[in-house]
Symmetry: C2
Subunit: 350 residues, 2 copies
């Protein structure tokens, strides 16, 4: 039946007559019925044209795939990458409709009229940047509509990687309230000298690292313990160091110290155990529970702190999520807009 | 025999008398004999003091570990982190001596006087930055002295990750010299329309991605093929696009396009098959050989292009190497100082 249906390209849409509604819409959920015509998006029309399901003419001239595709890609920004994603999802057996931000995808076995869409899809080239705020808004919008947010990133060779982004609420079960004692601020770390206090803080709450019998604490750990009154801090000359002075010195060493500390404190206050994520290239690795140092479970989360106005670059995002996945942890980005919030980004395999 | 030997702290060294040479140097290779005294570095002295092998006095006053360590860390920048690395290597059973950049490490079973050192060790805090040029120079110096270069990065909790950096020469076995034909430049990729040419270029050399019967080429692939005369390129209006115009447009899309292209071309000229490394967060994944598309081996290398004046941040480096390791590939950084050079960085487990 190839090409019995002819659509007309006009105003960035391809319109086919009423007769096509039963074949294209009712059988395949292509397009959007509008009065007595069916409106196809350029992506849908390219897909149908390539499968010889329709013909397309523009001002009386029939367009072959190449001409239609070149024309369409000039009319609609990013058409090439949307086409790649649309085609991929269709060929996996999903019903896909144009929508906000780019597509709506129905759950397997579902279709328009029968079920609600499961995903909102956001299509992105690996070269585009993705502002955190845009991602957060899309996540919230999807959440309000009870959809999930799918991000489809098309790399320069037109391979697609799918992600899901969602708001995350995390908390743990580890209490800690152990007195530490007197510690000395060195260049970029803190040394607690007393062996008993060192063991205590390390055992309950998994603070610092024991180097022989002494505990080396990181700046962020020290700030937290100092702020909660669990250690006392002096400098090399023996002069007392308060939280304000510690924060000042820490800021000189790490310029994102404040955000990092805010997130550390929030995680600890939610009874999570927080350690450096350096080996994974993130700020923190996070445990829900550390019952004893002899049998430490693997950490559940990698948490990376980003400023509120952060802009994700797809290759960097890809690396972080891939690495977290390879060590069986969840990748979580933390930011603060007055309160600390968490965004999980994970790989999807639709 | 605790503390029978007493050293004197002076001018940033601890000097012990001739009697100590046999106990400390000949049995443990601590310090450097100089005339009839043994000179210990501050790190060595701290290590011996903590083990009660020596006592240390400064101007007639005996120093306990805490006092000595605080004093030393004020005298020598980065002493805390050097101490952590020194102690770790010693406890693993290696003989370690002060040297350039920070330590020399002898092979297992070897020691000064018997064997040459195996590694030069460069100690770094995770917060310090590491300029590519400094790393390249250290690698070259080590290479000239027939040593390997070990980089020990100490994270904020005093855990150490060891890396080896070395110059890498890579080449493959894949020839490619297939005519492509006429292609169209779209926004940020290129479409080759002819099915036979598409199949040919994809099969021999693994260029592009087949989308149905058409081949989508990346900008870097297109530049290479165009430059070698293997494709002809037109824009949407049908006007011819030469390599200069393609490069100009590509630069607007990717501002590091020139370096990236230079590395791509060098790798292809060395008969390697080069594809995007997006899924791994690097510029390229590289195959030594692709004999047929049906049985593509895993790629051997991840190659990331950096400018000549690049500065590595340890967390970013850590993530790249860790990710490459988790997918069993070698992590290689490529830069150009007139010609393209490659630096492999891998995890070491001493």
């Amino acid at each position: 039946m190839a090409g019995e249906i002819t659509g007309r390209l006009q105003d960035g849409k391809v319109r086919v007559g009423q007769a096509a509604i039963s074949e294209l819409y009712e059988q395949g959920y292509f397009g959007k019925p509008s009065g007595n015509v069916l409106e196809l998006s350029l992506v849908e029309a390219a897909y149908l044209l390539d499968r010889s399901k329709i013909k397309v003419d523009s001002e009386g001239i029939e367009l072959d795939f190449k001409s239609f595709f070149q024309l369409s890609s000039a009319l609609e920004k990013g058409l090439e990458i949307k086409y790649v994603v649309y085609k991929d999802l269709r060929e996996r057996g999903y019903y896909v409709q144009p929508g906000k931000p780019d597509f709506r995808v129905y759950p397997r076995g579902g279709h328009p009229g029968k079920t609600a869409a499961e995903f909102y899809v956001f299509v992105l080239s690996e070269r585009m940047s993705l502002p955190l705020q845009e991602l957060v808004e899309a996540t919230m919008l999807a959440g309000q509509m009870r959809k999930k947010l799918m991000i489809a990133i098309v790399d320069e060779e037109s391979d697609i990687t799918f992600y899901e982004a969602r708001k995350k609420i995390i908390s743990g079960r580890t209490d800690h309230n152990v007195q530490g004692g007197m510690a000395t601020l060195l260049d970029d770390r803190v040394m607690l000298w007393d062996p008993d206090a060192s063991r205590g803080l390390h055992k309950h709450g998994f603070f610092g690292k024991l180097v022989d019998e002494r505990l080396q604490l990181s700046l962020v750990e020290s700030a937290y313990l100092l702020d909660r009154g669990l250690i006392k801090l002096v400098d090399r000359s023996g002069a007392s160091v308060d939280i304000r002075r510690l924060m000042e010195q820490a800021r000189c060493i790490e310029n994102d110290f404040d955000t990092k500390y805010e997130v550390y404190r929030d995680l600890r206050n939610h009874k999570l155990v927080v350690k450096t994520g350096f080996k994974f290239g993130t700020h923190f690795r996070v445990y829900k529970n550390v019952e004893s140092l002899e049998k430490i479970q693997h950490s559940e989360y990698l948490v990376h702190t980003v400023p509120k106005d952060h802009v994700f670059l797809p290759p960097v995002l890809s690396r972080a999520v891939r690495l977290a996945h390879s060590v069986k942890k969840q990748m979580i980005f933390a930011y603060s807009d007055g309160e600390v919030k968490y965004l999980e980004i994970k790989r999807l395999r639709p």
